[in-house]
């Protein structure tokens, strides 16, 4: 069985369809990652980027009166 190339694996990982498709496709992708340390490294980096996005999004807290101002604005009737 011919395994997908590194590029195929990297594409699947970054597009986010690594875990999708037929069982055969998933098996071949997984097998490749299992035997290829470079792709394992890439996979870890993509997972790091995903976690990083969470860090970026959590970095800022809303102003304390943000909700109050919003509610005030929205419930005001002309």
């Amino acid at each position: 069985m011919i395994l997908p190339s590194c590029k195929d694996v990297a594409q699947a990982l970054s597009r986010g369809d690594f875990d999708e498709g037929s069982w055969l496709r998933r098996l071949r992708l997984r097998l490749h990652v299992f035997v290829c340390y470079v792709c394992r490294r890439y996979k870890a980096q993509i997972e790091f980027v995903n976690r990083g996005m969470r860090v970026v999004s959590e970095a800022k807290a809303p102003a304390p009166d943000f909700q109050a101002r919003l509610i005030d604005k929205l419930t005001k009737r002309e």
Partner: protein, 194 residues
Amino acid sequence: MAPPVSEEIQALKKRDNEAVRRLVADHSGALLAGAMSMGFCQADAEELVQDTFVAFLEGVERFEGRSSVKTFLFGILYNKGLTLRRRQRKEEASEKIEEIFDARFGALGVWTTFPRGPEHEALNAELKAWLEDCAGTLTSEQRAALHLKEVEGEETSAICRILEVTANNLGVLLFRARNKMRECLEGKSKGGEA
């Protein structure tokens, strides 16, 4: 316990103050995070969220409950966000990241330029600044896609509805977003070593 969705919508249609208050309490945090993740400054993001609620309340008559309130709100948010972004700056039509990605592989699709090992990964306070810098290299749409996927944990179908893209387009957005971030972070860790 919160009243069921249909009753909540009815209350919102009547502009019931309590219902509006619950709507804001439930969704303003996630929407603000979503707006900030598109790279807007705090003031712009807050205004965007406010506009989103206003548009939602104006259009609540048309809300049929086919998508969740959250998906509906995010759809409005990103629509408005992208319009605002387009006004603020013209986005480049072509993306260099595809070339950079391709250049890493040889003819057989084997890695030629290896991704760098974990020993190069910085684990200090600089990291957060790097992440923010690198997120800044993404377009608003790419950031939105990655945010919805990784932070909100939305399903592919919901993200496609929110951003009004096909599943394939979403794949391209995520591909570009993740690879741009990865290349940028790698570049930074390389630079720090010199």
